[in-house]
């Protein structure tokens, strides 16, 4: 051997951070190299946006408050939906890892194994930012006119980051529990699709039946959508702001320990 090897002598905390950084690098490369998934992240939001605006726009616009166009109304909803669907890649990536031998490889290394989870969740932010940016640009082309000022945009970005983290950690639970990638796909679809539709994401809740309306108005996705919507339209946040932040924080606080415990159990027999 030619090289004299040098080792880092890091504390436990800094080792944890550098392992996480390495795993974020790994997961981000996966995102860039998984071309099919990347194309999906690009075109699916554009497709949804254009379809919703052109199919439902005319009908729903009449029930919107004076002066609010459907594309301006829809934007917040469709962004939150995209972020929710985008977070399922955390689940898919984790299930993939767990099924192939790579997790055993990581576990035989002197590294922190929770870093693998962190890597997938945090790199989701990266791909979701691409999707969201594409969506906003496409929206601008078809008539989206946000009213948010600089601080409004900071708020939007911050809130979307929190929402992404919340969904990705929830998704991580599914990723650890699921037995196959196909299971992840239908499971997340069955959970996210109804939740985003039974909300104020695509249409005002006024026209819904009582039971559905009560559910829709109080479920977390509506709070998140309404908070983002208020910021986009430059309107007062009301209770939506703190409710959305609280929901995100609660979901994160619950799902991180659950994921860690399940993951640990799954990887040690």
């Amino acid at each position: 051997m030619l090289t004299k090897l040098e080792y880092k002598h890091a504390s436990k905390v800094s080792a944890y951070i550098s392992d996480t950084a390495l795993m974020i690098g790994r997961s981000s490369r996966h995102i860039l190299r998984n071309t099919d998934q990347l194309l999906g992240a690009f075109f699916q939001p554009i497709m949804f946006l254009v379809l919703f605006v052109s199919v439902f726009g005319g009908a729903i616009e009449q029930s919107l408050p004076e002066g609010v166009s459907y594309v301006n109304f829809l934007m917040a909803g469709i962004i939150v939906q995209t972020v929710a669907f985008g977070s399922t890649t955390t689940a898919i990536a984790l299930t993939n890892d767990l099924q192939k031998g790579i997790i055993d490889r990581f576990r035989s290394l002197p590294m922190s194994n929770m870093a693998v989870l962190n890597g997938h969740v945090i790199s989701d932010i990266f791909r979701n930012s691409i999707s969201t940016t594409v969506m906003i640009l496409a929206g601008l082309v078809i008539g989206f006119r946000p009213e948010a000022d600089f601080y409004g945009w900071l708020g939007i970005i911050g809130l979307l980051l929190l929402i992404t983290l919340a969904f990705s950690w929830l998704s991580a639970i599914i990723g650890v529990l699921a037995k196959s990638v196909e299971a992840v796909q239908w499971l997340t679809f069955v959970i996210i699709f109804p939740l985003t539709f039974a909300s104020s994401a695509f249409t005002p809740t006024d026209g819904m039946g009582t039971v559905l309306r009560v559910f829709a108005e109080n479920q977390p996705i509506t709070q998140m959508v309404e908070a983002v919507r208020a910021l986009i339209l430059g309107q007062p946040l009301g209770d939506y702001g703190w409710l959305a932040v609280m929901w995100c924080l609660v979901l994160i606080a619950i799902s991180i320990p659950i994921t860690y415990v399940l993951y640990k159990r799954k990887t040690t027999e």
Binding site: L2, T3, R26, H30, I102, L109
Partner: protein
């Protein structure tokens, strides 16, 4: 007794999955710088043993120490001195060969600079430089195994676990793998190899442990085990009962086994053709025609049959 220090020490290791008792008390020692082969059929408990020793599984009983570190109470220390490769380890399919090596090196706590330099060295050593910038999902089976082994050597751990490193490889890739393993041994690495192939254990290992149904069925050097296995057999089949009977009379004392239904006789032979010639000569001089002949070399199955027969 060897004066070398013990690198791997396993005492009465037990593991069950539910009702299924996979390891029923396995013990062995591997002195530093030697290679031990765990030889056994599928489901014998080889991979389970390796998984316990590499901290991937927890044992239900017994103890195991790697370079003095207990696998159950000090797994982090153990992970720092071992490399694992074979069926239970893997590489990242979307990363390139080089990226895999560098990432794993850094996860072994090498500095980035060391990881990069060591990766280049291993790419050359394992003949992977041309494929270094391709995602590993485009690699052939042999290339993937080589990268897998290279990854486990990135931090030059003193102990390597090779879990069926050549299973599923074509004969040429197997020879390349053997060559690489031989070089590792020359460098003084302690190796624990699992294999289903008698020939592989014979070629490479200092000592062989036969493992079957979760227990050590036999152990020793290749030469010692071969004595227990028994010899090759020359099998002669005859067309009629008459010929079969006269052959049995002519070769009396040499035949160890007969088969009345198939009209076959079994004669133990040494490696050379002399014994066969002698048999044929006798049959020829007695004018006994032969229907067909065959040579049976002992297989792993015979080894186990032989050993279990002796135990009874």
């Amino acid at each position: 007794m060897s004066t070398k220090n013990t690198a791997i020490s396993v005492k009465n290791l037990k593991k069950s999955f539910g009702e299924n008792e996979v390891l029923k008390g396995v013990s062995f020692d591997v002195p530093q710088g030697t290679m031990l082969a765990l030889l056994g059929p599928n489901g014998a408990g080889k991979t389970t043993t390796v998984k316990i020793l590499s901290t991937l599984l927890k044992a239900n009983g017994g103890s195991a120490r790697i370079e003095g570190h207990d696998v159950s109470t000090d797994p982090d220390k153990v992970r720092g001195v071992i490399g694992l490769t074979g069926q239970s380890a893997a590489v990242d399919e979307l990363l390139t060969g080089r990226e895999n090596l560098i990432m794993m090196g850094q996860l072994y706590r090498l500095t980035k600079k060391s990881a990069v330099a060591r990766a280049e060295e291993l790419l050359i050593e394992f003949d992977l430089t041309e494929a270094a910038n391709r995602p590993t999902k485009t690699y052939s089976g042999g290339m993937r195994r080589r990268l897998d082994l290279a990854v486990s050597l990135i931090a030059t751990p003193p102990i390597i676990f090779l879990d069926e490193p050549t299973t599923g490889l074509d004969p040429r890739s197997r020879l390349v793998m053997w060559d690489i393993i031989q070089r590792l041994m020359d460098n003084g690495t302690t190796i624990l190899l699992t294999t289903q192939y008698l020939e592989e254990a014979d070629q490479l290992a200092d000592k062989i442990i036969l493992i079957n149904n979760g227990i050590v069925a036999a152990e020793g050097t290749a030469a010692e085990l071969k004595q227990k296995i028994g010899k090759d057999h020359f099998i002669v089949t005859f067309a009629s009962k008459k010929h079969y009977d006269s052959a049995r009379t002519a070769l009396k004392g040499k035949i160890t086994q007969t088969n009345d239904d198939e009209l076959q006789i079994h004669i133990p032979i040494k490696g050379t053709g002399k014994d066969i010639q002698a048999v044929l000569k006798t049959l020829d001089s007695e004018k006994i025609p032969i229907s067909s002949t065959d040579i049976h070399k002992p297989t792993l199955d015979d080894v186990f049959l032989n050993i279990t027969r002796k135990e009874k």
